[in-house]
Symmetry: C2
Subunit: 173 residues, 2 copies
């Protein structure tokens, strides 16, 4: 089993983070490989809103909680960094393209010893007036759809238990 | 740069394949890691229709061409194997989840020296009466949405040129 496959099999969603900051060069490497994800017609349409600023991170968490059916206090599980992926609504493959960026970032994080988790409701958050105001403040024009929030940080626990796959997921010809 | 990141940066969509068959153990390894992709609520909802059979592969290609605006004769670029990803329409994260399976498979293929490409229009193909009949023949119940077709095979050319990323894709707080 090569390293790529080994990393895919041992990657798990991390649901509790240490407060320790993640070094900038690691965050930037994770972002960079996110940008290398495949995209429809090679258009590289998704963009990343990278949030390290504590106040903005907390604001995004609060907005996310607003749409969380479980109403958790911090849907980001204490992760210090949020990498929100968005893609232009005008691109028919926006959701597919953005998801691939999320996948690359989660796997890259794991390969660098950093925990991550896909936190959903990015769509709702960036349709919210307050979410839209944040995008504007970041310099983004209108017309972007939120795809997912990749939260990253040092995991507060070790978990490389490989979970068996559900049965009957492969059909063959 | 670790192997995972190196592979992400050098992976490219392959648009011409040799006819040589891909060994079963390699196909199965690619499928297996596809199943390890993250999924909403950990439900592992996506499934894979793995097609090696030449007649069915050609049938899928013909159906795909039907929805191809460019009307190519073989939208699968001569690839011998098609790994179609579908997910239950009842799962709100179907498209996101299925896209992550596609991403894992494309990257795993690259790490194993196998070319791959995301061929779209899986949604249209499996909404088509003939596509639905194929799913039924494979033993699938109704209610699945096509997410993408991951075609794999030995690349007919070498291409590890790293394409620069489009500018202005990262916004920061």
């Amino acid at each position: 089993m090569n390293d790529v496959i080994q990393n895919m099999i041992t990657r798990r969603s991390c649901k509790q983070y240490k407060g320790d900051p993640v070094p900038d060069e690691i965050i930037d490497q994770i972002i960079e490989v996110g940008l290398y994800a495949a995209s429809g017609m090679g258009k590289q349409s998704p963009i990343i809103l990278a949030v390290k600023d504590k106040a903005i991170r907390d604001e995004l968490s609060r907005l996310n909680a607003k749409y969380d059916p479980r109403k958790r206090q911090d849907p980001f599980y204490g992760a210090p960094v949020v990498l929100a992926v968005l893609a232009p609504k005008s691109i028919p493959t926006a959701v597919y393209d953005g998801s691939l960026v999320m996948g690359n970032m989660m796997l890259a994080a794991h390969s660098l010893g950093i925990g991550s988790c896909w936190i959903h409701r990015a769509k709702e958050v960036f349709e919210d007036a307050e979410g839209k105001a944040l995008l504007k403040q970041a310099g983004l024009t209108e017309g972007y759809e939120g795809i997912g929030n990749c939260v990253i940080g040092y995991a507060a626990y070790e978990n490389e238990t490989v979970i068996p796959r559900r049965e009957n997921r492969v059909f063959r010809f």
